[in-house]
Symmetry: C2
Subunit: 126 residues, 2 copies
């Protein structure tokens, strides 16, 4: 059911680890760049600083995307889904989003049997 | 680290519940529609049938999106991220993606303090 929330803090559900998945989308191209996780503090910090900040599950610490690489995500708009269990950050991405150097983390596609190959990047996505 | 996988089944990591998050994106408009979860069988079925199929965490069953509502998601392309812990399905969405009747589940945006308001839908996204 849709919750009638006026405030993101009433709506968002953090899971048993205190996390909610967050999808980053390039606001200019529409390209989906990555999926990571936010805790309450990283969400608050993202809204306040306008630099997208995740929770690093491997390092167990706040992760200002780009703090070491320079590849910041400047927040243009932060959306929440109907049930409050997912976040969408619409960003201006500086440099590549992926640690591999690819523009997006989603750079491989599967055929019907599951075989992977590089995506064909459309003009819209460049 | 990027895994050198040739096959999605080598690459994808299912969590302790056997699930991986899957983001649905409208292939025509670029709009991010929803986030849900897939288990191994729903991923296999999605690739094979080209109708996006999730795992319903609330009902604990396979969930062919649109099976009851008619609002199917026809798979155009299925991507996997660098680390294999997220899926992106690029779809042709029949009708609204959201059970509220909204085109996308991400229909509310938060300001710096967290206050929610309806998104302004761009022409590109209509």
């Amino acid at each position: 059911m849709m919750k009638e929330a006026e405030d993101i803090w009433e709506l968002v559900t953090f899971d048993s680890r205190g996390l909610v998945p967050a999808v980053a989308q390039d606001v200019d191209t529409g390209e989906v760049l990555m999926l990571a996780y936010m805790n309450r503090e990283s969400l608050r910090q993202t809204l306040e600083t306008r630099k997208v900040t995740y929770w690093s599950r491997s390092r167990q610490e706040l992760w200002v995307k780009g703090a070491t690489s320079g590849h910041f995500q400047h927040l243009e708009e932060l959306r929440v889904d109907c049930d409050g269990d997912a976040i969408l950050v619409r960003v201006r991405q500086i440099g590549p989003a992926c640690h591999t150097g690819a523009r997006t983390c989603f750079f491989r596609a599967a055929d019907a049997s599951g075989r992977l190959s590089p995506i064909r990047t459309s003009d819209q996505e460049r």
